[in-house]
């Protein structure tokens, strides 16, 4: 009825073309090595895109200020996929067809990454996603020869879902939980892992409802969940909807601790949702309050440049860019060689020591990392008083 995808793609392509043209003018192609950073820079997930961009840009500034890689400057090409699979598919074909791009840090959202993945695997360009946590990615990142092209330095949804169920049950001792999930790859992945672990623990899931991205009215589902009298609510989704859910839950009288995964970790969650967001717990791969000395240096640089607190997405993107640049430095600006180098980072000893801890990949390109728990208290994110271990 109302097909608006194509004109928008054209507009975005035109804008990007303009951007690329301008940046090419400032430095000739031979002096720079390009990495693509596809993420959402417009649309409702743009807040995350800004975080990814911020983290990557701090790393690139740092590298270029120290003389670049083998005398060449690194340049990031920021491409907007709006976290939409159809936009991501378009972006992916422009990335693989641009020979000057040697690697990818992205995509941001799992559904966008999954849509872009076939092109990357087919054409052979290595990607590290700092944020896409869907389990499905691990099964779709190999080419016919079994080579992995997509890596990640973030934990998977099954880890987060399992972790949250454990935390609710073992640490907080709550026994009845309602699940409210976004009906997409991310939300369903989280929900399923959570449900499986809950069953194992004897944690009762008293109600399970879905919503979709961009919804504004959650009262029908919340009214239904409230009737099941849960002690906690797990919201498997992202912060823009999460903030509204917190607000509306209070309005329908469902006042229980709320739990979210990495998708909630954004200052806008509190700004949009206001006071009802208090008592929300979330998993985070990075906590600035308990960071290493190296990480403290990054936190300072980040604050100086952006005048705000570091969130985990920026920290993870900073590390993902760091890994990619190290691979370029060691293996040379060649897509296949970079991939081989990345695949070789397969033990903690060979791991890349970043601000989020040691990054290394297993046989399916995934990484193992600890999770921390943050919570919202009096309108601020603070480390939760009780951690998992």
């Amino acid at each position: 009825m109302r097909s608006r995808g194509i004109p928008r793609i054209l507009a975005v392509a035109a804008a990007l073309g303009l951007g690329l043209g301008l940046s090419a003018g400032s430095a000739s192609a031979a002096d720079t090595i390009k990495i693509a950073v596809p993420a959402a820079y417009t649309g409702s997930a743009a807040g995350y895109g800004e975080n990814v961009k911020a983290g990557v840009s701090v790393k690139i500034d740092e590298i270029n200020a120290a003389g670049g890689v083998n005398g060449k400057k690194i340049e990031a090409v920021y491409l907007d996929d709006q976290c939409e699979p159809r936009e991501a598919a378009t972006v992916s074909s422009s990335v693989v067809n641009d020979d000057s791009i040697v690697g990818i840090v992205g995509h941001l959202c799992s559904s966008a990454h999954l849509a872009a993945l076939p092109a990357y695997v087919r054409e052979g360009i290595p990607a590290i996603t700092p944020t896409a946590t869907s389990v499905a990615i691990s099964g779709k990142n190999k080419d016919e020869k079994g080579k992995i092209w997509s890596f990640r330095n973030v934990y998977r949804d099954d880890f987060q879902g399992t972790f949250l169920a454990d935390y609710i049950d073992k640490v907080l001792g709550l026994k009845k939980v309602a699940v409210f999930y976004e009906n997409n790859d991310y939300g369903i992945g989280l929900k399923e892992a959570f449900g499986k672990e809950a069953k194992k623990l004897g944690l009762t899931v008293v109600g399970e409802e879905a919503y979709k991205k961009g919804d504004q009215d959650f009262t029908p589902q919340l009214t239904k969940l409230k009737a099941a009298a849960p002690q906690a609510m797990f919201i498997a989704g992202y912060y823009p909807e999460g903030a509204l859910i917190a607000d509306q839950a209070k309005k329908v009288g469902l006042v229980v601790p709320k739990f979210g995964a990495d998708g909630f970790d954004n200052a806008d969650y509190i700004k949009l949702g206001g006071a009802p967001t208090d008592d929300t717990y979330l998993t985070a791969p990075f906590l600035a309050e308990i960071a290493s000395p190296d990480a403290k240096k990054f936190i300072e640089a980040f604050k100086a440049k952006f005048n705000r607190e570091v969130d985990w997405m920026s920290a993870n993107s900073y590390d993902a860019a760091g890994i990619m640049i190290e691979a370029i430095a060691k293996a040379g600006p060649d897509r296949a060689k970079i991939r081989d180098y990345l695949a070789g980072i397969d033990t903690p000893e060979k791991g890349y020591k970043g601000v989020t801890g040691v990054n290394y990949f297993n046989a399916s390109g995934d990484c193992q990392k600890p999770a921390f728990v943050k919570m919202v208290k009096d309108g601020k994110f603070v480390p939760a008083p009780k951690q998992m271990n």
């Binding site: 009825m1 608006r4 004109p7 409702s44 504004q216 009262t219 029908p220 949702g273």
Partner: protein
């Protein structure tokens, strides 16, 4: 729980209805589906926000936003649709989609693409408090404000259409534009008036939604626009009371669908109801059975 779901669905439905009258009035007069109407609704919310951040009190901010969006609606017609009045209908339809994308992106440039909260301090604190409580059912003051505003606007609109000279001219235009022009009706002025009226109502819907849900973002007009369009079709496109009925029916169907059938199929349930009605009553609840004009 059932009564609570009805209350929630009724609130949502009234908002759809307010947007739907904008579609239906414009369709009635020039037979154009104004797809940019969802963006008018979105602009209503953002302009109110801007007025409030300039320090204006809420009622004045809403009034100014209404006038501004009414002017934008008229401008939209003058710039984009009037030059195509005699062109094939498809040309105007595509232009409408173009204007929708244009306005959406304009809003992203002006206000940024991230969702913004409605400034809480501008709202009286009691708005979020329960106003009525019958055992399990609560109705908040905000919901009552929505009911009163929406119903008052619709009664007012109906009076304008049935009792005033301009309203009579609008109905004449809907019946036959050439004959209306021959009777001395200033066609373009009446069309501008229609756009202004519909846009103003859309703006109020936008403000109320952003207050009720406490958020606004540049793409919010898309889904609301599609739903309201469905409501207009359900009620019988071209019929103002039909749009109101269609909006409320759709809102309640959607809420009950999410509450009792399956929340992943929430919108599916709403559209299924619309399709069923259209199968058995092709012109909607209150639509005239139209004879296709040559």
């Amino acid at each position: 729980m059932f009564e609570q779901q009805l209350v929630n669905g009724f609130t949502l439905g009234l908002i759809y209805a307010l947007i739907a009258v904008g579609y239906t009035m414009v369709y009635g007069v020039i037979e154009l589906i104004n797809f940019a109407h969802g963006e008018i609704y979105m602009l209503g919310a953002f302009l109110t926000l801007s007025c409030i951040s300039m320090g204006l009190p809420l009622p004045l901010a809403v009034l100014l936003a209404m006038l501004a969006t009414a002017a934008i609606g008229v401008l939209l017609d003058v710039v984009a649709y009037r030059p195509l009045r005699e062109a094939p209908r498809l040309a105007a339809l595509i232009t409408a989609i173009g204007m929708s994308i244009f306005l959406q992106n304009l809003a992203m440039i002006i206000w940024g693409s991230r969702p913004l909260p409605f400034p809480r301090q501008a709202l009286p604190a009691f708005f979020a408090e329960p106003a009525l409580r019958f055992s399990e059912v609560t109705v908040t003051w905000m919901q009552i404000v929505i009911y009163v505003t929406a119903l008052a606007l619709m009664v007012g609109l109906n009076l304008v259409i049935t009792k005033t000279r301009t309203g009579t001219a609008m109905r004449a235009l809907a019946q036959n534009r050439t004959a209306a022009a021959l009777m001395g009706i200033n066609v373009n002025r009446v069309i501008s008036f229609t756009f202004a009226l519909g846009s103003g109502m859309g703006a109020v819907a936008g403000v109320m939604v952003s207050m009720y849900y406490n958020t606004m973002y540049p793409t919010m007009g898309y889904l609301a626009g599609v739903k309201a369009f469905a409501a207009a079709v359900l009620g019988g496109i071209g019929s103002v009371p039909g749009a109101m009925l269609g909006g409320v029916a759709l809102g309640i169907a959607e809420t009950l669908g999410a509450g009792y059938i399956s929340s992943p199929y929430r919108d599916g349930v709403a559209y299924a109801v619309m399709i069923l009605v259209i199968i058995f009553r092709p012109s909607g609840f209150l639509g005239r059975s139209m004879v296709e004009k040559a």
